[in-house]
């Protein structure tokens, strides 16, 4: 036990500190991450109350979701990474199966089938499960392979990513599909895939834009892109949401209009103010200061995540932790740039703040795994 010997040699004050570290370590809890998450959660509930039109109903439901999510997170944190790695193919197959199932028996609103009801379980979105499962599958796949990935492995991994992506696109749910693809690609990136692949993929995407435009994208999706490029074309129609969210954000100024005093959000000018566009509520009522606070918390979470992945002892843990963190980061970026009018409107919620139970649980699963990876017992794996 080299570590323990080392600790004994430290001066008294540090002994306590290290003992506390050890305490959390035994519980498999990464306390800096936990505290950051709790701060975001608390802030999120406060904004949600305002964004939902001061509805305690939403806040209660969200709180229950958080309670469940924290429990799930702490449970997952206890799990053995080796076991997760071993079960990865089955998780993946199970996830894909659910995605196929949802296409046939799923339910949902506005012409999209995203929800699955299995007796005895709460209604859920299989795509949310895939958000957790895909990085595991990818990390597990590359754990055994030579890094940086070779072409053959690259191709296989693309297949692994594309199957769920395409299934989710069929629901259809463009936002989630993009995020799933990104989470898979982030593993490839962390695995050290040669830049050439990224360059070529980028080129291919660029060339296929016309094809996408004319054959793949739906009318409303095209409309969103047009709106993005020219926000003033149709302020009362397609551009309404973005126009109003930009107005909400901009009118908040540095200090904001005050909690529950945002005119855009409280008078219903801001659409989806409790889900995808909730950041506009924060920006309007708490101003740039509020945005900076939330951004800082997010940044610290991301940094902590990347730190955990750096410290992980195994390729699997590293890739998984890195992917989870980067996916979380992409969520934030896509949502905030979308709401502020720099990206087209795709349905991406603001992580841990937007209303939505499944999304929160799947995110917390990810953080549970981060904690599991971060508190892995070194002597077992060394």
């Amino acid at each position: 036990m080299p570590n323990r010997d080392f600790i004994r040699q430290l001066p008294g004050g540090d002994v306590e500190l290290k003992q506390r570290e050890l305490f959390w370590h035994k519980l498999h809890i990464d306390w800096p991450l936990l505290i950051l998450l709790m701060m975001v959660t608390a802030l999120g509930l406060v904004i949600l109350y305002s964004g939902s039109g001061q509805s305690l109903h939403y806040v209660k439901r969200q709180s229950v979701a958080f309670a469940v999510a924290y429990a799930v997170m702490l449970s997952i944190a206890q799990m053995n990474m080796l076991m997760i790695k071993r079960w990865a193919p089955f998780f993946y197959l199970g996830g894909v199966l659910l995605l196929v199932l949802v296409l046939f028996v799923g339910s949902g609103a506005k012409g999209a089938q995203r929800w699955l009801s299995i007796p005895g379980l709460p209604r859920f979105q299989p795509s949310e499960i895939m958000k957790v499962v895909l990085p595991i599958a990818m990390a597990a796949y590359f754990d055994k392979r030579i890094l940086p990935p070779q072409f053959k492995h690259f191709c296989w991994s693309i297949v692994i990513v594309m199957i769920p992506t395409i299934l989710i696109l069929r629901e259809p749910d463009l936002g989630t599909a993009i995020l799933i693809a990104v989470s898979g690609i982030s593993v490839l990136f962390l695995a050290g895939l040669h830049w050439g692949y990224f360059a070529i993929s980028g080129l291919v995407t660029l060339c296929s834009t016309p094809v996408l435009w004319f054959y793949v994208l739906k009318e409303y999706q095209k409309q969103r892109i047009i709106t993005l490029l020219n926000p003033n074309t149709d302020v009362f129609g397609a551009g309404w949401n973005i126009f109003q969210s930009k107005t909400a954000i901009g009118s908040g100024g540095v200090y904001g209009k005050g909690w529950l005093k945002g005119t855009q959000s409280q008078l219903d000018f801001l659409p989806e103010s409790h889900t995808d566009f909730i950041i506009a509520v924060l920006a309007e009522e708490k101003g740039l200061i509020g945005v900076i606070v939330l951004l800082s918390l997010y940044l610290m979470i991301v940094i902590r995540g990347l730190y955990i992945s750096m410290r992980a002892q195994e390729t699997f843990g590293r890739l998984l932790a890195g992917s989870i963190t980067l996916t979380f980061f992409v969520y934030i970026v896509v949502n905030m740039l979308m709401v502020s009018g720099l990206l087209p409107v795709v349905g991406v919620p603001l992580p841990l703040v937007s209303h939505g139970g499944t999304s929160i649980v799947s995110l917390m699963c990810g953080f549970g795994m981060l904690m599991a990876i971060g508190t892995e017992d070194r002597k077992l794996t060394a």
Binding site: L190, T263, L319, L326, M336
Partner: protein, 632 residues
């Protein structure tokens, strides 16, 4: 999957690659967070002003607060025009998912016609603004919609004030009405003054005193939500209500006059001799002026417009009739003044009159004449035409014209009403200019009995009678008596803010006769018309507790009655003579002057004079004395 030999996993190398990528990720993360920050900084700090303006523009709307239109009262404070709240059903289209199912749902609750739905769908609209679907909801409708409102998102009941005339038919022509502002009016009015209003005075008092009644529009800044519902009023600048008008009109007299001639095509005017105030002014048939306020239906309007009885036509000032014998007192006055006749002058009336060198016989209305030694007094009392033929011939058209014009004939009376017509008092000049012919002596004879070219409106007849009654005092007939600043609420008590008096009588230019005895002579003659057993309107004196003066008239049908549109089947009735009566009472100190015309009523004595008696009774006694209609 087996690993190829020589490509064993190099864990250390893996880690180095990974570390590089992690550091790169750090870099990406920082860059993108800076991008986000910059974007928010740009929106919230650099363009803060623009977005604040936009945000305020979203929620703050300036609404016009229309002033309450002034009320109109009769002389005793009876309401003649008021404002009533009316409720309309409106829909915000953006909040209704399926419009057609919503409409069919609404139709189950309240009655909505296909026409209303069509109109609703055609209305131009602004997003999130309510569009009216149906007006004039009843209390029951409002309650039904209120109860079901939870399942009718986007449906609202909106209240506004709508003009209402409690005595619509009785006052339709005089008070007039308000109606929707049309294209032509829109060009003429100051649009700012009419913000938030869609009606304007169209005729009668409502039009003439539009400026006083209108008031001054106010405004308020309101905070609305995205659905346009007003959350609160931020700032309010109260409107100044329109001024209230008190008229000379007397609801009781007006009602008596209206009831008396309701079934006829007739016009009645009663003036206050002392002030020129219009006590009653009725034109029948009338119409329901309330129909015009919220927009009359095409069918209703067609019916009114195409009716052969012309209900929209204001006979009291647009109707031009030959005055017939009603001008005889004034003409007699001229005869006395000029010395052409005196109280001893008599003529022989065989039933006709003939000019020298002329074969034509000018007939008296009484076939075999009024006999020997008819003097002026009898000529008036019994309406002897031959006496007047002779006198008119001796007077000549120039003197007749000059004197009649003094009594306001052939010119606007300038009553405070719209579309008055001037009538016609012919002269040599007039005939030369309009007919290109010289004046013939025979035409002077016709003028002498109020026929020929001569045309007068009932209001002119009333003014003439009033001048006669007041022995020469000219008057300006006026409907308006006082203008009153609206009641203002102060300390919970309503107070009169101020009173303005309408322009009073007096042109200060009375007609002065050389001998005032001439007035008395004519008065006596007119008294005889009513109170002498031989008088043409003797019937109306029965049971009278006061003395009155009058003159009947019968006018051969010309002018408006000879309308090509009239059915041939109706021609018979329409060819009958118009019945006229003018008079004043009480004789000793005349207070009220009345003019009555009943189209095709044949004899002034039977159809027109009793109306005057009823008005005198109402005015002088406050009631109607029992009186049998007497036929001569």
């Amino acid at each position: 999957m087996s690993e190829p030999i020589g490509q064993l996993k190099d864990k250390h190398g893996d880690y180095r690659t990974f570390l590089k990528r992690i550091l790169l990720s750090f870099f990406f993360v920082l860059v993108l967070f800076i991008v986000i920050f910059t974007r928010f900084y740009n929106l919230q700090v650099t363009n803060y002003a623009d977005h604040t303006t936009q945000s305020d523009r979203n929620r703050i709307h300036r609404q016009a607060v229309p002033a309450t239109r002034g009320l109109i009262f009769d002389r005793n404070g009876e309401l003649l025009a008021e404002n009533r709240p009316s409720y309309s059903l409106t829909i915000v289209r953006e909040r209704v998912k399926d419009l057609d199912s919503m409409l069919s749902e609404l139709r189950k609750l309240v009655s909505i016609t296909d026409q209303q739905i069509e109109k609703f769908k055609q209305r131009p609209r602004i997003p999130f603004q309510s569009v009216p679907l149906r007006y004039n909801l009843s209390e029951t409708d409002i309650a039904i919609i209120g109860v079901n409102r939870y399942r009718l998102p986007g449906v609202e009941v909106e209240a506004r004030l709508v003009r209402h005339y409690p005595h619509a038919e009785i006052f339709a022509h005089t008070i007039g009405y308000v109606g929707r502002i049309n294209e032509r009016e829109l060009k003429e009015i100051d649009r700012n003054a009419y913000q938030g209003l869609d009606t304007i005075g169209k005729r009668g008092i409502e039009k003439f005193y539009e400026r006083e009644l209108l008031g001054i529009v106010g405004y308020q800044d309101v905070e609305t939500n995205a659905r346009g519902r007003v959350i609160k009023v931020l700032k309010r600048h109260d409107p100044v209500p329109g001024k209230n008008l008190i008229t000379h009109l007397d609801l009781g007299m007006q009602r008596v006059a209206y009831e008396a001639v309701k079934g006829e095509r007739a016009a009645v005017v009663a003036l206050d001799v002392k002030t020129g105030g219009v006590l009653a002014i009725v034109s029948t048939p009338s119409f329901d002026s309330n129909l015009f306020v919220t927009g009359i239906s095409i069918n209703d309007y067609k019916e009114l417009r195409d009716s052969p009885d012309l209900p929209l036509f204001n006979r009291t000032m647009q109707g031009q009739y030959p005055p017939g014998s009603t001008i005889k007192p004034v003409l007699g006055l001229l005869g006395l003044e000029t010395g052409v006749v005196n109280e001893h002058t008599t003529i022989y009336d065989p039933g006709w009159y003939q000019l020298e060198n002329d074969d034509r016989r000018y007939r008296d209305w009484k076939r075999y004449g009024h006999g020997k030694s008819v003097d002026l007094r009898q000529a008036i009392a019994q309406s002897c035409d031959v006496f007047y033929y002779d006198m008119a011939f001796k007077l000549g058209i120039d003197r007749i014209h000059k004197f009649m014009v003094e009594f306001g004939l052939g010119d606007y009376t300038s009553i405070d009403q719209t579309s008055e017509r001037p009538g016609l008092m012919p002269s040599r000049d007039w005939k030369k200019h309009n007919r290109g012919q010289p004046w013939f002596p025979g035409e002077t004879l016709n003028t002498g009995i109020g026929q020929g070219y001569m045309l007068m409106t009932p209001i002119q007849l009333a003014v003439m009678t009033s001048i006669l009654a007041s022995r020469g005092e000219r008057i300006l007939p006026r409907v308006l008596k006082q203008i009153i600043e609206p009641l203002s609420e102060q300390n919970g008590q309503q107070q009169l803010a101020g009173v303005e008096f309408a322009e009073m009588v007096n042109t200060n230019n009375p007609i002065i006769l050389q001998s005032t005895a001439n007035w008395e002579y004519i008065f006596q003659a007119m008294e005889d018309v009513v109170h002498n057993r031989k008088g043409t309107a003797h019937g109306i004196s029965k049971g009278a507790t006061y003395r009155m003066a009058g003159k009947t008239g019968t006018a051969q049908v010309v002018g408006i009655a000879q309308d090509d549109k009239y059915d041939s089947s109706k021609l018979e009735k329409h060819k009958r003579d118009h019945a006229l009566f003018v008079g004043f009472a009480p004789l000793e100190d005349p207070q009220v002057a009345v003019a009555v015309i009943v189209e095709n009523g044949e004899h002034g004595s039977s159809s027109a004079a009793p109306v005057a008696r009823k008005l005198f009774d109402t005015y002088l006694l406050g009631r109607q004395a029992d009186m049998e209609p007497v036929i001569e």
